[in-house]
């Protein structure tokens, strides 16, 4: 079974937090019985365990980030594609190519000119499709 670094780091963080809290609970339940020095020692131990838990939390977040990183480039590219498509549509609206192509197609339909209809349909789709850049 493959090791899941996120789960491992999460579980470790939980273990350290749990131990830290157990140490605190022990200290508070025996508050009056423990000497000030012992209290301080237990407090520091709880803090050290807690810091370990925080480090494991950072590790878990880091492992998640590492897992998603390779997929971000594709999403970035798809975002750019969608933005380019929108920019292209805006350019088409501003330009007259699509209008000319549509008018030409209607003209050939109205004239019943079978020969030019296919060309004009192609013309209409070319007017909307961006030209390939070499």
């Amino acid at each position: 079974m493959p090791i899941d670094p996120v789960k491992q780091a999460e579980e470790l963080a939980q273990i350290f937090f749990g131990l830290s809290n157990a140490t605190d609970d022990f200290r508070l339940h025996n508050f009056n019985a423990l000497s000030a020095a012992r209290q301080q020692q237990l407090k520091e131990q709880a803090q050290a365990l807690d810091t370990r838990g925080q480090q494991c939390t950072a590790d878990a977040l880091g492992a998640i980030l590492q897992g998603i990183q390779p997929h971000l480039a594709d999403i970035k590219q798809a975002t750019k594609d969608a933005q380019d498509a929108l920019a292209h549509l805006n350019d088409v609206v501003k330009g007259l190519a699509i209008v000319d192509a549509a008018v030409a197609l209607v003209g050939s339909i109205m004239a019943g000119d079978m020969g030019s209809i296919a060309d004009n349909v192609r013309g209409l789709f070319e007017a909307i499709s961006p030209t390939e850049k070499s």
């Binding site: 838990g53 977040l61 998640i64 699509i98 549509a102 209607v106 909307i128």
Partner: protein, 291 residues
């Protein structure tokens, strides 16, 4: 001669009918509206999650502050390398969330693009052309309407193809990233909050043990604790709601990718509406905890 004219008119009518039917079918697929609504809800949800990522380092620092006894009144935050590291990773996750949000924003913009603009332009241009050709009023009107319709259909077809391509291409990447963000907020951050809550309680308990029997102290601390608890509960609910929202978003996106090729408006709208509604209902629970 009459036969040729009649034959041509029939051909024209048949051609026009077929063309109009095909294009009407194309235009009836106004699925981009449902896609736009879904994507816009996605952007709102993802944006709401920024506060959670910002709070990851803050929670770590607050938790470290509980190590100071009440009344210590420190003037600076504890300098913890672990908190800095948490902050660094959280920033990376927030950046990833913004990237996904940008993706849904771009899809929303593309899906919201009004192809009718092109149709209107074509109509105007056709009006000029037909006026120059001195066509009859009926023919002029027909030319304008059909030219507008054709331009709109061509643009709509292009818009839908590009939308479909983008959605299908990255739906698996989107799912992986959303799952990761959901785990960071709904599991790791949730545990952070639970630990912070525990340590805050410990700090109050310790103070109380040092001031045993003081009723005023008990009342003040109890009141503070109730307020802290409400804040922790709201944040924990926000973390869980965010994870649930990302889960919904991922499922909706999968459905969208699975049906993107067919892109029938009625089906897609019915399919995406529950996801969009669910996202909208979860967003306030996320935002409420931080404002």
């Amino acid at each position: 001669m009459r036969f040729i004219t009649r034959n041509r008119t029939r051909k024209q009518a048949a051609l026009a009918t077929v063309l109009v039917l095909v294009l009407a079918l194309l235009l009836s697929c106004n699925a981009p509206d449902s896609v736009a609504k879904f994507c816009s809800s996605a952007v709102v949800t993802l944006k709401a999650g920024d506060a959670l990522f910002d709070d990851m380092k803050a929670s770590c620092i607050r938790e470290a502050q509980t190590r100071e006894p009440l009344g210590a009144f420190p003037v600076s935050d504890p300098n913890s390398a672990a908190c800095d590291d948490i902050g660094k990773q959280a920033e990376g996750l927030e950046a990833a969330s913004k990237l996904v949000s940008k993706y849904f924003g771009a899809l929303n913009d593309l899906a919201s693009f009004g192809t009718s603009k092109a149709g209107d332009g074509a109509k105007d241009q056709a009006a000029k052309a037909s006026a120059q050709a001195k066509l009859s009023a009926a023919r002029q009107q027909a030319l304008e309407s059909v030219a507008g319709f054709l331009a709109r259909a061509a643009m709509s077809g292009y818009q839908q193809k590009r939308l479909t391509d983008d959605i299908v291409k990255v739906h698996e990447d989107i799912k992986i990233v959303l799952d990761g963000l959901g785990e960071a907020a709904g599991v790791v951050y949730l545990h952070q909050l639970q630990d912070e809550e525990q340590k805050t309680a410990t700090r109050y308990k310790e103070f109380l043990l040092e001031h045993q029997g003081n009723a005023d102290v008990i009342l003040v601390l109890d009141s503070r604790w109730q307020s802290d608890r409400a804040s922790f509960a709201a944040k924990q609910k926000a973390a869980l709601s965010y994870r649930a929202a990302l889960d919904t978003l991922a499922k909706g996106n999968e459905e969208l990718a699975a049906h993107a090729r067919s892109f029938k408006a009625s089906e897609l709208s019915g399919l995406l509406s529950p996801y969009a509604a669910q996202l909208e209902s979860l967003a306030p629970a996320i935002q409420k905890a931080f404002f």
